[in-house]
């Protein structure tokens, strides 16, 4: 009976002020969609950066005419540099495997390469002692005989990291502002609900209804608003999240940066909790000083 009563109260409160509730739900929706979107984009960027595995930041492509001994000599030579932490030799066949992996969805490209695997050069993958050393290493590599081209991941990565960092800071501010707006809007719906029921509340208090019995329907109302907003945010981001991540990434393989479903579900559950928490906070503010005995 009491549980049923509490639920009925909360739901009828929500129906009574559809417009105000709508505003509160939208605020939660936008805030949490941003949170969720940021989480996904960040995941994708991390994965994107991760393709340059183990902090390999400089790649020296080797001429095809080098003998294995010459390559060995170049490798140990470079390994001896102060700026260099580690050097790994990548054969032509390893290069082909990697190429297949990266362009798995473009079979025509793979076909061309498979016809003549020699077009993919062997390379040395160099890990700097300090990430900032990449430019020194690059400069020194350029003049090493047998190295015909030097490529470093630095610009792309730095740009990406910077972009991600700015975006995260921007999103964080918007989230804080929208979070505050959501709390205030929910608090407002609760005040309206309390005002609409003031006679009923007065009688409840007069006949000795417990303080929490009076308060819980209003707390629940805010929590429901928060959860609805969170659920809508999850649905929205789930639908369009992948395409946002792709826009921002440097990957050439569409779909390769979509986070796995179990990751998404975990984040979605956290988000629902976050929505409920926002609602609870809003209700608590809304009731502040109103529902005392």
């Amino acid at each position: 009976m009491r549980l049923q009563y509490i639920l009925e109260q909360a739901i009828s409160n929500l129906r009574r002020n559809v417009l105000v509730v709508f505003a509160a739900v939208v605020a939660v929706l936008v805030m949490l969609a941003l949170v969720f979107g940021t989480i996904i984009v960040r995941w994708s960027i991390d994965k994107d950066i991760g393709r340059w595995d183990d902090n390999v930041r400089v790649i020296a492509f080797l001429s095809d005419d080098l003998s294995l001994e010459e390559i060995d000599a170049i490798q140990s030579d470079i390994q001896a540099w102060d700026e260099v932490d580690d050097v790994v030799y990548y054969t032509k066949s390893q290069a082909l495997d990697e190429f297949r992996e990266i362009f798995f969805d473009q079979p025509s490209l793979i076909e061309i390469v498979e016809e003549d695997p020699s077009i993919l050069p062997a390379s040395l993958r160099i890990k700097p002692t300090e990430a900032a050393d990449y430019s020194t290493i690059r400069d020194r590599l350029v003049v090493v005989p047998g190295v015909f081209q030097v490529s470093s991941a630095d610009e792309a990565i730095d740009a990406l990291v910077a972009r991600a960092g700015h975006m995260r800071a921007f999103a964080l501010w918007i989230m804080i502002i929208l979070g505050a707006a959501a709390v205030v809007l929910i608090a407002n719906t609760i005040r309206i609900a309390i005002f609409a029921r003031r006679d009923e509340i007065g009688i409840m208090k007069l006949v000795g209804a417990g303080n929490w019995f009076v308060r819980v329907p209003f707390l629940l109302e805010g929590v429901i608003e928060g959860i609805i907003g969170a659920a809508l945010a999850i649905a929205l981001v789930w639908a369009v999240g992948g395409s946002i991540a792709e826009l921002l990434s440097t990957s050439t393989a569409p779909g390769s940066l979509d986070p796995p479903t179990d990751f998404m579900i975990r984040q979605a559950l956290i988000l629902l909790g976050f929505g409920a928490g926002t609602g609870l906070l809003g209700s608590a503010f809304g009731m502040w000083g109103f529902l005392r005995d």
Partner: protein
Amino acid sequence: MIRLQDVAKVYDGGTVAVRDVDLEISKGEFVFLVGPSGSGKSTLIRLMLRQELPSEGQIWVAGKEITTLPGWKVPMLRRSIGTVFQDFKLLPSKTVYENVAFALEVIGRPKHVVRSQVPQVLKLVGLAAKSDRMPNQLSGGEQQRVSIARAFVNRPLILLADEPTGNLDPATSVGIMRLLDRINRTGTTVVMATHDHAIVDAMRRRVVALERGRVIRDQSRGAYQMDVEEPGESEPDEPMTAEG
């Protein structure tokens, strides 16, 4: 049952609502609080209900000192007190039955208790036949009967009534007073604030007269005025309106 000791209530603006009030009301008594508007009657009722805290003094209700009662225990205090007001305070969207049942439901009484108690108390107040009516389909006197039913349905030890006949014509008021008298005969302590001379003079119960916040007279089997006048001869010293 109720005891006030050196009670004073001074509002924030410095207005003194009541002062130096010492009052003891025994179980089963029927007490009128009389006096002009602003004399402190309603304040005393609110203090007994712990809707307000006194600035000074102590108050015992049903064996508990209520000025130091923690907030979460206040609902328990209120369950031992029934309240009736001049404006009935019925919920317009609920039927007579639902208005009375509401008082039991919100304190968590089980359904079977609600189903047995509500018809019984509606019968007591003479509204058994109108339990499905809405409040706006009832006369003022009937509405007040509903509010008395709601106050009494939980069988409180104390019934506090603040101007219960203030909005009713004299004939209807007599019916309400008969009802309160019946409730008093069940052993319920009744405290009623009023400035209805005719009722006080007719009932001849204990009268506590207030003036500017002080008790100026406490008389068993008293009348509204110190010197008894013929009923109807004295003009009411104020209009019959709600007091602030």
